[in-house]
Amino acid sequence: MPTPFETAVHLHQRRIYSFARYFLANPQEAEDVTQEVLIRFWRHHDRLEETGVKSWLMKVTRNACFDRLRKHRSAARVFDERVDEEVVEAASSTAPSPERAAQDADLRHRLEEAVRDLAEPYRSVVILREIQDFKYREIAEALELPLNTVRVYLHRGRRRLREQMREVMGRDD
């Protein structure tokens, strides 16, 4: 019978790991961040309100990612092929042809890079809202921002991404 903590770990691990993977370029760093956050969660979990766990975890995860970036600035800019392969594999759809699959993979690769190149806090807001489907209120709590500011940052982030991706996405399918 799993303990409440084990259940919570299985529930939240995907959220934590996904944010770290899209925020950082290095999968190993993302694993280290995930482990660190879950260990901290173990230390604090019995003091957290259930309704605030999700926001607390994302706040701690984001801070841990910042710490990693500060320590390894150069590593954050290195693109790892494994990131792209795993994302493509996980998102593999019913691509009608190998050529289309390759185009999709290329698009996702460039999109991930563009997201990682976004300045903060736009990067965090875009990841949480568009990739992880957080509600505006949850993002506001996690990033300690007013609700309207979250919307503004999301729109600005997507606008910047659109500029980055214009050439790639403007091709006809």
Partner: protein
Amino acid sequence: MTTEAHVDCAAVLERLEELLDGDLHDVAETESGVPAIRRHLDACPECAAELALAATLRRELRALPELDAPDALIDRVLDATVRAAEPVPVPGRWAAFRRSLEGLLPAPARWAAATLAAAALAILVLVPRSHGPTPDPANDPELARAIVEARFALAYLGDLGRGAGVEIRDQVLRDRLVAPTVRGLLGPSGAREPADAAPSTYNPGGSGRPAPLSDDPPPSAPRRS
């Protein structure tokens, strides 16, 4: 007859993301109101293409998958947290003890952790209690458990040592680890001389597994080295 407001491309492009998300709530017939923007989009192919691009981008972002952390990472975390806190049967405690250290600590830190554990538990085993009758493991479950834990720690030290090509002699453990630790914690008056201490149950030349309980006399009795 209502006068329709007109809006230019710059104003429309500025509000495209809001329009896409349904965050434009003003339906009034104003310069930047939704009806005016929609009329502009109907009439301006460039802005319409830009809206389509924004919609495609949002769709592609939302298609990026969330990813599961590797199973091994989750196992490591659970081994170090909730599983380490669970009471386990004695035969399984050795595996749990090794796992809890190996999952978290590099080899040098495991040496230190096992040494400290061995020292702390050896004190409990080898130092006589200052008051009351001499403890007998057969009648004292806590003491029996402490003896088992001390053996695990000492055997683990032996395993680590052999893994590093180092043999830890029984005398070294007793003279360099247990005795100084006892003196340091209890002071000269509370410590036994190493030669008087009960023989260590660590078996340095053996397989590294804990030695069986011996028939040693209780700690208060004089010993032969």
